[in-house]
């Protein structure tokens, strides 16, 4: 779904509590969120539970999403990631107080994703397919270097050195 369409749906949820708009966002987003958790090695039950929490947050907090600041998908991804971090904390019996601060920071920090778009695009262009795959496996799916080595059938040392060189390359565009 295009960003413009998602922005429109989010506005309908925020302004008129439009359940139909939410059902469209649900159909688009829930399978991605669920898949993200499964890729991160959570069980089916945990994945669905957290997916529900993420979508509930979208329903409740759609008014916090600011289209001038970020794409809808990036906002949704950070909610999903934060819920995953909170799950690990809950398992350690930690109080969860961070969520409000994170919402507030999102609203009040003055960095817009559109300002950094050129850096993002350069990184995407500069990294070849294998490098993008390593970033995905290591940082998005949080696979260990050992697991990556097994899956790609390359030596562990090669995985480490390739990740290092990928990060070095990426860092040149972090300005």
């Amino acid at each position: 779904m295009e960003n413009d369409k998602l922005i429109d749906l989010a506005a309908k949820i925020a302004n008129t509590r439009d359940e139909k708009a939410f059902s469209e966002i649900f159909d688009f987003l829930a399978p991605k969120v669920n898949s993200y958790y499964l890729k991160n090695n959570l069980s089916f039950e945990q994945s669905e539970e957290l997916t529900q929490e993420v979508l509930s947050a979208v329903w409740l907090k759609a008014d916090l999403f600011n289209p001038d600041k970020s794409k809808f998908i990036t906002w949704a991804f950070t909610i999903a990631r934060n819920k995953k971090i909170d799950l690990y904390r809950k398992q350690n019996n930690k109080k969860i107080e961070d969520q409000d601060v994170r919402d507030f920071l999102y609203q009040h920090n003055n960095i817009s994703d559109y300002e950094i778009e050129s850096s993002i695009n350069k990184i995407k262009q500069e990294l070849d397919e294998n490098q993008q795959k390593l970033i995905k496996m290591s940082f998005f799916e949080q696979k260990s270097h050992k697991k990556i080595a097994e899956e790609l059938e390359i030596p562990l040392g090669t995985v480490k050195s390739r990740i290092r060189s990928t990060l070095n390359k990426m860092q040149k565009f972090l300005t």
Binding site: K32, W59, T74, I85, D113, F139, F140, L167, Q171
Partner: protein, 211 residues
């Protein structure tokens, strides 16, 4: 040593959500104080969100959109958002009111209530106070929250981070008129050099039994 790379890796770890609690807190404070670092985090968030957008979809089996709406009506509606954005004072309150522990003259510390393998603490140095020449068994991360300190490698001001490891021997001094408040993570003990080194090292050795 390329500490920029180490700082970036810390930021990437934060974006992907795989840091322990101590480092998460440390990086959230870094992003709060340092807009350049916050920008890097946003760039990496976007790279990861791209992966998210292109995921193979797996629909949840039992969940539907009505469940999500209903589950929110059971909870209190929106929680009140407090005005305090600072992750550290949000956790421990005003730093002035903490029970600081005096380590030696002009040098105080406060260990934060974080349950993690890494120890995270606040350090307060009066103006002109120095830490004796030392290096680190593991890595040490220092973030300046207020004031500034100087060492052999330069001056570090509010929002600056320094990462030290075994190869670094340094002798930091609070150089600002108001002294210096820092947040620090030590992965392992500090090793001292110079006149009082044997006593200070003995002290860390004994302290390690009580960890």
């Amino acid at each position: 040593m390329n500490t920029t790379a180490q700082k970036n890796e810390l930021i990437f770890g934060y974006s992907s959500g795989n840091l322990g609690e101590a480092k998460s807190l440390f990086v959230s404070m870094y992003l709060y104080l340092n807009s350049f670092a916050a920008k890097k985090a946003s760039i990496f968030d976007n790279i990861l969100a791209d992966n998210f957008a292109n995921l193979d979809e797996i629909a949840p089996r039992k969940l539907n959109y009505k469940d999500c709406i209903e589950s929110t009506s059971k909870k209190n509606q929106k929680d009140e958002i407090s005005g305090n954005l600072n992750p550290i004072t949000n956790l421990v309150g005003n730093l002035e009111n903490l029970k600081w522990k005096s380590i030696y003259k002009g040098f105080k510390e406060y260990v934060l209530p974080v349950n993690d393998g890494d120890t995270v603490k606040l350090i307060k140095m009066d103006p002109g106070t120095s830490v004796p020449l030392h290096s680190h068994n593991g890595r040490e991360y220092i973030l300046v929250l207020d004031g500034s300190f100087c060492d052999e490698y330069g001056e570090y001001k509010k929002g600056d981070m320094q990462i030290n490891d075994q190869q670094i021997k340094h002798h930091p001094t609070a150089c600002d008129n108001d002294g210096c408040v820092c947040l620090s993570i030590t992965e392992n003990d500090v090793v001292f050099f110079g006149k009082f080194a044997s006593i200070l090292n003995l002290f860390t050795f004994i302290k390690s039994f009580f960890k």
